[in-house]
């Protein structure tokens, strides 16, 4: 009798383990099913695609804490321009500032988010700087005033920046409700999303229209002196 009881208990335990494993497997399947993608296209008032628009999706729900590995990003200087013009990073990222030019640059920012100054000799890369605080860091060069770049630091892992074609996609996005924000260096006040939050249950594409013309100004800089 005692043996029979022990056998039944063992069977129950095994069954419970199998059931819990099955549930866990099912949950995993559900998690992957819950991931969607979000595509955005941005046009200005003249229907010209807008590049360098930053879209941040901040989840209103808890997301599983992920151990952050040290991230490294690069803000280069090429032909007296910052490359890229707009860099979006998650807070805690280290950024290096190589100088690809055969010229001196004197890169600085007085932004409250991150204030710094780097003297960059010819074809030289400085030690990385860590960007911990979320916010917008506008950077310049004291030798070449026309040089202007932006580092957008966000706490959310879900962000993107539009390409030259004016579009971009955030993939592997958990389903749920997000606060959405938009920023462009030439339209810092623009709010093209219809509301501040979006509930994303399925793969979604949105088209944003700005009420102003965005004329890119990051072209050449030769022959205009030092101002």
């Amino acid at each position: 009798m005692r043996c029979l009881t022990a056998a039944l208990v063992n069977m129950l335990v095994v069954t419970a383990v199998i059931l819990s494993l099955s549930k866990a497997l099912a949950d995993n399947i559900n998690i992957s099913k819950d991931e969607i993608s979000f595509t955005v296209e941005v046009f200005d008032v003249n229907n010209t695609p807008v590049k360098d628009a930053v879209i941040i999706l901040t989840p209103t729900f808890a997301i599983p804490a992920q151990e952050k590995s040290a991230q490294l990003a690069e803000m280069n200087q090429v032909n007296k321009q910052f490359e890229p013009h707009v860099l979006v990073v998650e807070s805690g990222t280290d950024i290096i500032f190589p100088n690809a030019d055969n010229l001196f640059h004197h890169v600085y920012s007085f932004s409250p988010t991150k204030s710094f100054e780097l003297k960059l000799y010819k074809e030289f890369t400085s030690e990385p700087l860590r960007f911990d605080q979320p916010g917008i860091v506008d950077i310049g060069c004291n030798i070449h005033d026309w040089m202007l770049g932006f580092i957008f630091v966000t706490d959310s892992p879900f962000y993107t920046k539009t390409t030259a074609e004016g579009n971009s996609t955030i993939s592997s996005l958990p389903k749920g409700t997000y606060n959405v924000s938009f920023w462009h260096p030439l339209a810092p006040q623009a709010t093209p999303f219809e509301s501040d939050s979006l509930t994303l249950d399925t793969t979604t594409s949105v088209t944003l229209k700005l009420e102003q013309a965005i004329i890119s100004d990051d072209g050449f800089d030769d022959g205009f002196g030092d101002y």
């Binding site: 010229l103 001196f104 026309w146 800089d221 101002y227």
Partner: protein, 400 residues
């Protein structure tokens, strides 16, 4: 000896990691139909006859000193002229890093006012032509300031505005003979910048050089201090994006025209307005123009001339070729009543240039220039006051 030592030091400093250095070497094969003013002769060209020349050798270096200071020096060598090796610019630049978008800068030393529409390459060379316009040939010959320039500027991109601007003012000395060449030689068209302490020759106008006449030398030293008075200039730049730029300068050397020195060089009171326009509709097309109106007075109304000049130029880059064309006009009006020293002149010039960029460092360019006009004092040396000059130049340039 001192000069050679200084230039050797400059070359050593140029190679330092703290120096931003550029260099250029240009050799030219030339053909010009009239004898040059540099040989005290009649033409307004830098070269004459048919020959080879070292037309430019330039070291242009900026040495960083601390966070906010730079020393900027330009040394030049030429195969022609009274002095073949020397310094054309040497100054300290203070450009502090400030949080405000209104940014100050100070230059102290020997430098050009930044009034040229065309001399934007290293060592104040033109990126488009082998020769400069009439206006900037004269600036390169006779105008440099030894003094202080202070400016304040704002870059539009930093304040989300299409407009960038700069306002500046300067006080200086050492530019007292400026005006001599406009009156006695007339406007010229070339790329020979005067070096410090260098003499520039011109045609020996009989009354000017004779002992019974004015008894002045047939040369000038452009940066000599004669009357110990300060001159000044003020200027403003405004740029709309990287598409348009205008500059205005007013220059007055405030020289006392009645003061002369031991070499019988007078101080010439020279004032002018300069207006510059540039348009870059795209990275490969540039349109630029400059106009100048001024007056120079020497002695007790011995010379009193109004002078005017303007040019319009364009440059178009297609592939490795850059094609450039310029039209110049100039006019000197003689307002004094010194019959032995007629200064009136007027003329026009066309310059056509094509450059082929072989690689990042080497290029070849061909330039033809036609310069035609009348100059009253030429009648002392030839049957007529009219002149027509043709210069063809083929140049090979190495640039680092």
């Amino acid at each position: 000896m001192k000069k050679s030592a200084f230039i050797t030091l400059l070359i050593v400093v140029s190679a330092s990691a703290l120096a931003e250095t550029r260099a250029l070497l240009r050799v030219s094969a030339l053909s010009s139909n009239a004898p040059s003013f540099q040989s005290n002769d009649i033409s307004h060209q830098r070269f004459d006859g048919k020959h080879f020349a070292l037309s430019q050798a330039v070291i242009d270096t900026s040495l960083l000193i601390g966070n906010n200071w730079q020393v900027h020096a330009v040394a030049n060598a030429y195969s022609d002229g009274e002095q073949q090796l020397g310094i054309s610019q040497l100054y300290l630049k203070y450009r502090p890093l400030v949080a405000s978008t209104l940014k100050p800068e100070v230059r102290i030393g020997a430098f050009y006012p930044s009034l040229s529409a065309e001399n934007t390459a290293l060592g104040w060379l033109s990126p488009h032509f082998l020769s400069n316009s009439a206006i900037n040939s004269w600036i390169g010959e006779e105008l440099r300031v030894g003094g202080v320039e202070a400016s304040i500027r704002q870059n539009g991109r930093q304040v989300n505005s299409p407009w960038s601007w700069k306002l500046l003012g300067s006080v200086f000395k050492g530019n007292d003979t400026t005006g001599t060449l406009v009156a006695w030689r007339g406007f010229a068209l070339h790329d020979r910048q005067s070096l410090y302490n260098e003499r520039v020759n011109f045609l020996p106008i009989p009354w000017v050089v004779s002992e019974e006449g004015f008894n002045a030398p047939a040369w000038t030293e452009p940066f000599r201090e004669i009357d110990k008075r300060f001159g000044y200039y003020i200027g403003g730049h405004a740029a709309y994006k990287r598409q348009y730029e205008v500059k205005y300068y007013f220059y007055d050397n405030r020289a006392d025209p009645k003061v002369l020195d031991i070499d019988r060089l007078y101080a010439w009171r020279t004032r002018f307005h300069s207006f510059t326009f540039k348009q870059q509709p795209s990275a490969n097309i540039t349109v630029f123009a400059q106009a100048m109106a001024g007056n120079t007075i020497m002695g007790d109304n011995i010379v009193n001339n109004d002078f005017y000049s303007a040019f319009l130029a364009t440059a178009y880059t297609v592939g490795s070729f850059t094609h450039s064309a310029r039209v110049d006009w100039y006019h000197v009006i003689d307002k004094d009543e010194q019959p032995n020293d007629p200064n009136a002149s007027q003329g026009q010039a066309i310059t056509i240039n094509t450059r082929y960029q072989i690689n990042d460092y080497a290029s070849v360019s061909g330039e033809w220039q036609w310069n035609n006009g009348r100059q009253a004092n030429l009648a002392f040396f030839q049957p007529t006051d009219a002149f027509t000059e043709n210069t063809i130049q083929l140049a090979f340039t190495l640039m680092y």
